[in-house]
């Protein structure tokens, strides 16, 4: 895909561990995650509820709730800065300016008592190094209008004077995206930005994001539970399950020939007209508890290919097929997995 240069990494996450305190016990939601977002690409982070994908996204900018914390690992931005080791003050300068974030619900992302223009000016003013003068504010406002136009909002001069509740959901989401772009960050983290939107609106916002990304050579980490959205917009994809990344690779490759049984199962469960009259594939069982000790592969108990080795030993991460990384015994030629016993699909 255009813009992806090998070795040019916008964000490198190494061995990231995140814990939550819950009623006296500590839950290690992310045990040690490795992920890289290349410059100029859209990386999809896909997983179901409880997979930890949102936790990962929030941890990058240290926006976890009060009972969560980063317990280890590095988050390296642009090959130079480790976000995990920055002070709160330094991190504040990164937020918005170098990494911006867009959330699911645009209504709660905007302050209801301030006008749009005022909020957009505030974002820019907050990152200004010197005292903000009136001249600066009018400059920021002009920039805000220009950005609103770029995200496809007609009549931006009116919109800057409006309050959030006066705008429709789609317009609000565009405003939020414009705000995210106002400091020209190199990386955008989008946490389920279209999940709350109607289908036709979702298509528009995705098209907008594609366009913005191409125009600015922006890197995007796109978190979602919807595989089809990943198919539409992402270049690469990382599939998460129970706090771990189980498969990673180019979208076309992963979706055409998934290497991990969970990815395979996910892809098979999407209902469609083509499957009328037939039973849909399902994944039996539940996501495992993160409270206890987890041995072996976390997906093993729900995997149709599971063997003894899967329950006792954690699988390594290997290359397999066209996927860059797969966490599975079945794909690891050096593991004790008995390949003779694999049931036919």
């Amino acid at each position: 895909m255009a813009g992806v240069t090998a070795g040019d990494v916008a964000l490198e996450i190494e061995d990231l561990a995140v814990e939550y305190q819950s009623r006296g016990s500590t839950v290690r939601v992310l045990p040690g995650v490795d992920l890289a977002v290349n410059r100029g690409e859209i990386l999809g982070l896909v997983g179901e509820s409880g997979s930890g994908k949102s936790t990962l996204a929030l941890a990058i900018l240290r926006l976890l709730p009060a009972n969560g914390r980063v317990a280890g690992g590095r988050i390296v931005l642009d090959g130079a800065t480790n976000l995990a080791s920055l002070s709160e003050e330094s991190l504040r300068r990164v937020r918005g300016r170098r990494i911006a974030m867009v959330f699911q619900d645009p209504l709660t992302s905007l302050n209801p008592v301030f006008r749009i223009g005022s909020q957009m000016v505030d974002v820019q003013a907050a990152h200004c190094d010197h005292r903000v003068r009136r001249r600066d504010r009018s400059e920021y406002l002009a920039r805000a209008v220009s950005l609103l136009r770029q995200v496809g909002l007609p009549d931006p001069e009116q919109i800057v004077r409006a309050y959030p509740h006066q705008l429709s959901g789609g317009m609000r989401q565009r405003v939020v995206i414009a705000m995210a772009l106002s400091l020209e960050p190199g990386l955008l983290i989008a946490d389920e930005p279209t999940s709350a939107l109607d289908v036709t609106l979702e298509a528009q916002i995705l098209a907008l994001l594609r366009e913005i990304q191409a125009d600015r050579d922006l890197s995007i980490l796109f978190v979602t539970h919807d595989l089809s959205v990943v198919a539409q917009i992402c270049h690469r994809v990382a599939v998460m399950y129970a706090g771990q990344i189980v498969e990673q690779g180019e979208v076309a490759d992963v979706f055409k020939s998934p290497q991990h049984p969970y990815t395979e199962a996910l892809l098979a469960t999407v209902p469609s007209r083509a499957q009328r009259g037939r039973a849909l594939a399902t994944v039996p069982g539940q996501v495992p508890s993160l409270l206890g000790e987890l041995t072996g592969c976390r997906f093993a108990s729900r995997c149709r290919y599971q063997q003894e080795i899967c329950h006792s030993e954690a699988p390594r991460v290997v290359n397999s097929g066209a996927s860059e990384a797969v966490r599975c015994h079945m794909r690891d030629p050096s593991s004790a997995f008995d390949h003779e016993l694999v049931p036919s699909p």
Binding site: R23, S54, T55, L64, P65, A242, S289
Partner: protein, 314 residues
């Protein structure tokens, strides 16, 4: 349900979602109740409050056993004495032991306060339920009634009612209940209006449930929790109300020893022997503080949404 965190997807990553279904911790009802009690005792405010409330209850129940003397026992030889070995808190103008009178007064205080507030809760709940759920004319009548009662200053209302009914323990309870019930009616009505919109009420209607069934099984159980919390917080007010009315002479007739009447009697001799006033005030103060702390801790545990800044919490 313990939350592990919230995701951008909007739904909380609840521990329940990641804990396997066989977890006993989430299953046993007994565990939930135990958990609530333990939570209350964990906070300093809750612990102190519980101790005080429990202490008061025990004193009230075992009053005849604990009190060294009967509340009416007069000793003409030892009026207005300070604390001595025989009378640990001194005596009043008739030589009655203050400590004993305070102990029996605990009984009256709790009896009146708890009963009055309970009656207020039941009456208020019933009215609020009818008005909130049935709406229309019934609602208008209920609201009018409650507004009327609330527009009188409580003390005026109490005085008027007691004058008409005559002072007695029973009437005291009725009067206090009447002045407290508009609050319960208003609160329960508001709660009913909210709960009425909830999807499960619609679901029950969809199943064909009648109004009575819905009110009894689906509305009331879901609104009582805040009302109980109100009750815990209202008891100290009721105690104070009873004390106040007794102080004015409209409460329990002598020789019954309500804290208020102890205060009232004690005022006459406050310069020679301030003991009655001192200890009765102390008793009132401790009881009020204790119930308040307990009520706040209860509120924090039962309904986290009502949680505010609590000055008692560590």
């Amino acid at each position: 349900m313990a939350l592990v965190g919230t995701g951008g997807s909007g739904d909380p990553i609840a521990v329940a979602d990641v804990v396997p279904i066989g977890s006993e911790v989430l299953q046993a009802r007994g565990a939930r109740a135990r958990g609530a009690v333990i939570s209350i005792l964990r906070t300093p405010g809750g612990a102190i409050g519980t101790v005080i409330v429990a202490g008061l209850v025990i004193i009230a129940i075992f009053a005849p056993v604990i009190a060294p003397y009967s509340f009416g026992q007069i000793d003409v030889n030892a009026p207005l004495q300070g604390p001595t070995l025989h009378h640990l808190l001194g005596t009043d103008q008739l030589g009655r032991d203050i400590l004993s009178r305070l102990i029996y007064g605990t009984r009256i205080a709790l009896e009146v306060a708890v009963t009055a507030v309970a009656v207020a809760l039941v009456a208020g709940l019933a009215l609020g339920l009818l008005g909130g759920y049935l709406g229309g004319l019934v609602d208008n009548v209920v609201v009018l009634l409650m507004d009327t009662f609330q527009s009188f200053p409580a003390i005026v209302l109490a005085l008027a009612l007691l004058t008409v009914l005559g002072p007695s323990l029973r009437n005291l309870i009725i009067v206090i209940a009447v002045t407290f019930s508009p609050n319960y009616a208003r609160t329960s009505r508001a709660l009913v209006l909210t709960v009425k919109q909830n999807q499960y009420v619609v679901a029950e209607r969809a199943l064909g449930a009648g109004r009575l069934r819905i009110m009894a099984r689906h509305i009331v159980p879901n609104i009582v929790a805040p009302l109980f919390i109100l009750m815990a917080m209202d008891i100290p007010s009721a105690i104070a109300a009873e004390a106040g009315l007794s102080f004015l002479g409209l409460g329990v007739p002598p020789p019954n020893s309500s804290w208020g009447s102890i205060l009232s009697d004690g005022f006459n001799s406050i310069y020679q022997a301030p003991w009655a006033v001192l200890f009765a005030s102390l008793a009132l103060g401790i009881a009020t503080v204790g119930f308040l702390m307990f009520g706040e801790a209860l509120r924090d545990v039962l309904d986290p949404r009502l949680r505010g800044v609590s000055r008692w919490r560590a």
